[in-house]
């Protein structure tokens, strides 16, 4: 792609002693669905507010389509936004809410009508134009907020946890919908969420944020399979964490002494024998087999089945090991006929583990 639609260069924003954005550099391309994933308070909303112009960065610049907009007020930036609590205007009808950005731009009445019809059709809101926001369901309000964000053909759309207030069913449905609109419109969406499933479902690329900093920015699959920091490994996906001391290093392979159990791992970059490390292995990267059963993997640890948590298509197996630790393994639910207290073995490959220097906490 030629020029990025959005570029942040070294953007920093402090609130007193809190650094909500710490030297953030980023570029987002045309048609990209970009997710900003991070725990509460990591600075996601602040980032969106800086892009929208609602917050002025202390340092650094914001560029939209190559133009420096750092000093421009929000109303001169031409971005669309869907706010965390929708923020529909309570005294305006749905139609007036949706058409508001066009009116502010001084679009002709004919254009307003035409675009309104387009937006209401796209978001399946026909027939609701004369209602007030408080007369709508959560899902409908959400779609009105989206329609309002999209109607004026913004250069990019910012979405701040737009699905957080919806119930699970509706959220699943809207995840698919939102992705569909994005593909249809072919503009970049910058989608803030603290829900990793949402980020993994919808986005092309994910930035994982923590304490105002980007921990990793990469295509979603890579973030999931190859986390580059301890924080990302712990935050994205569900993992077993094994904390131990590196006992030996042989080139790319190392062995970890995990409370008496020796575990084969990839050698973490720059590590040396004696280091304390955390090894993260995703639940679904481990297998449970009957003792001596067939499975691929350098690591094979005996244990006892404590419980099975049935999850529908999958089940989580809780296995107590001889060193007293417990592992959780995600498997297909109908495959095996294990019972509680059955002896079995947990198997995984060294490749599946991601090791980082042990965290202080």
């Amino acid at each position: 792609m030629s020029e990025p639609v959005l570029e942040l260069r070294n953007v920093t924003k402090r609130f007193g002693s809190v650094t909500a954005a710490d030297a953030i550099t980023l570029s987002v391309n045309q048609g990209e669905f970009f997710a900003l994933l991070g725990p509460s308070g990591s600075g996601k909303t602040t980032m969106l507010r800086i892009i929208a112009g609602l917050e002025v960065p202390d340092e650094g610049g914001v560029f939209i389509n190559g133009q420096d907009v750092t000093a421009l007020p929000p109303y001169a930036r031409g971005v669309g936004m869907v706010f965390q609590n929708f923020l529909l205007f309570p005294h305006k009808r749905v139609g007036e809410n949706v058409v508001f950005p066009l009116r502010m731009q001084g679009a002709s009445k004919a254009e307003q009508d035409e675009r309104l019809k387009w937006a209401l059709d796209l978001l399946r809101l026909d027939g609701l134009a004369d209602r007030y926001p408080h007369q709508l369901s959560g899902g409908q309000q959400q779609r009105v907020a989206l329609a309002r964000g999209l109607i004026s053909r913004p250069a990019l759309l910012l979405l701040d946890e737009p699905l957080a207030n919806l119930d699970r069913e509706l959220r699943k449905e809207m995840e698919v919908e939102v992705r569909r609109y994005q593909v249809e419109l072919d503009i970049p969406f910058i989608y803030v969420t603290h829900n990793q499933e949402e980020a993994l479902t919808m986005s092309d690329r994910i930035a994982v944020m923590n304490h105002g900093r980007f921990e990793q920015v990469a295509p979603k699959l890579e973030v999931y399979t190859h986390p580059t920091s301890r924080f990302v490994a712990g935050f994205v996906g569900h993992s077993n964490v094994m904390t131990g001391t590196l006992a030996a290093i042989e080139g790319g392979c190392a062995s970890l002494d995990w409370n008496g159990v020796t575990v084969a791992v990839r050698t973490p970059p720059g590590a040396s024998v004696g280091d304390r490390v955390d090894c993260f292995v995703k639940l679904e990267k481990m297998r449970v087999v009957a003792p001596g059963g067939a499975a691929q993997g350098e690591n094979r640890v005996p244990g006892t089945l404590r419980d099975i948590i049935f999850k529908g298509s999958t089940a989580d197996y809780l296995v107590t090991l001889e060193n007293g630790a417990e592992l959780m393994i995600s498997e297909g639910s109908e495959t095996m006929g294990f019972q509680r207290k059955d002896p079995l073995e947990v198997v995984w490959s060294a490749e599946a583990g991601a090791c980082f220097p042990a965290g202080g906490a």
Partner: protein, 272 residues
């Protein structure tokens, strides 16, 4: 035991009901008495009743009262507009911009409540005359009356606007509204009931005020000043009619305001 506690609750309810009734009697009996008397022939001892509208005809005929009424309305409107504008700007800036000093600013807005009318009247007269070299007139009376009015208007505005969600303004700005447009399109349509409340209260305050108006207006009559002046010539029938009318108008205004709010014809902030 259950029966005993039920009796206690009943006694408690009855007791507080009685107390409330006495309080209302104490507050409203004089007003009711004045209204009742204004419809009677005998103003000194209006029992048994002998109804007549004489007092009202006298009031309608009196040209001094006409002029005074006009002046009072003018004074009330001017002062109320001033109060509402200043109080709206004040409460908006405190709530929206969340300054470190907002507590102090709010207290400064409220301080005039503790200054007696008489002092506000005299000091604004002195200040205008000695420092600014201005004579007392309608304009200075409006401003002087706005001193207390603004405090009350501010109290009303801040109480109602505490529920306003300023992120709505953020939304409006992102969608292209400049600050003034944003106020006009989003803030004003939501906060106008609070502004109306502030306006009505400050209007009534200025309309009814005696001391401040007296010192600033001198010979220009308002309803309270001529009512007070005419007291020196005994209790005229017009005074009873006037008091009854003013109280009646205030009562009706408040009833309407209450009904509007009760049935949510106007509502404050978000409709949830």
């Amino acid at each position: 035991m259950a029966a005993g506690s039920r009796v206690a609750v009943a006694a408690y309810k009855g007791g507080s009901g009685l107390l409330l009734t006495l309080l209302y009697l104490f507050l409203y009996a004089p007003i009711v008495y004045v209204i009742y008397t204004s419809f009677n022939k005998d103003l000194i001892w209006p029992f048994p009743p002998d109804f007549t509208l004489d007092a009202y005809f006298k009031l309608a005929d009196s040209s001094t009262y006409h002029e005074a009424l006009w002046n009072s309305v003018l004074l009330g409107l001017g002062s109320a507009i001033l109060c509402t504008v200043v109080a709206t700007m004040g409460s908006m800036s405190i709530l929206k911009y969340r300054s470190r000093w907002r507590g102090l600013i709010a207290v400064i807005y409220l301080c005039p409540l503790f200054v007696a009318d008489l002092l506000v009247g005299i000091s604004s007269l002195l200040f205008n005359r000695q420092v600014l070299g201005l004579p007392g007139n309608m304009g200075s009376a409006m401003i002087a009356n706005a001193v207390h009015g603004t405090s009350f208007a501010f109290l009303i505005m801040i109480a109602q606007m505490a529920r306003y969600d300023w992120r709505l303004d953020d939304a409006a700005m992102v969608f292209g509204a400049k600050p003034l447009r944003c106020f006009w399109e989003v803030t004003l349509p939501i906060i106008w009931p609070a502004m109306l409340g502030a306006f009505i209260i400050s209007f009534i305050l200025a309309f009814n005020n005696l001391e401040i108006s007296f010192y600033n207006l001198g010979a220009i009559p308002t309803l309270p000043t001529i009512a007070w002046g005419s007291l020196r010539f005994g209790l005229g029938a017009e005074l009873f009619a006037l008091a009854a009318l003013v109280n009646g108008v205030v009562l009706v205004t408040f009833t309407i305001m209450y009904l509007l709010m009760r049935y949510r014809i106007v509502s404050f902030g978000h409709r949830d």
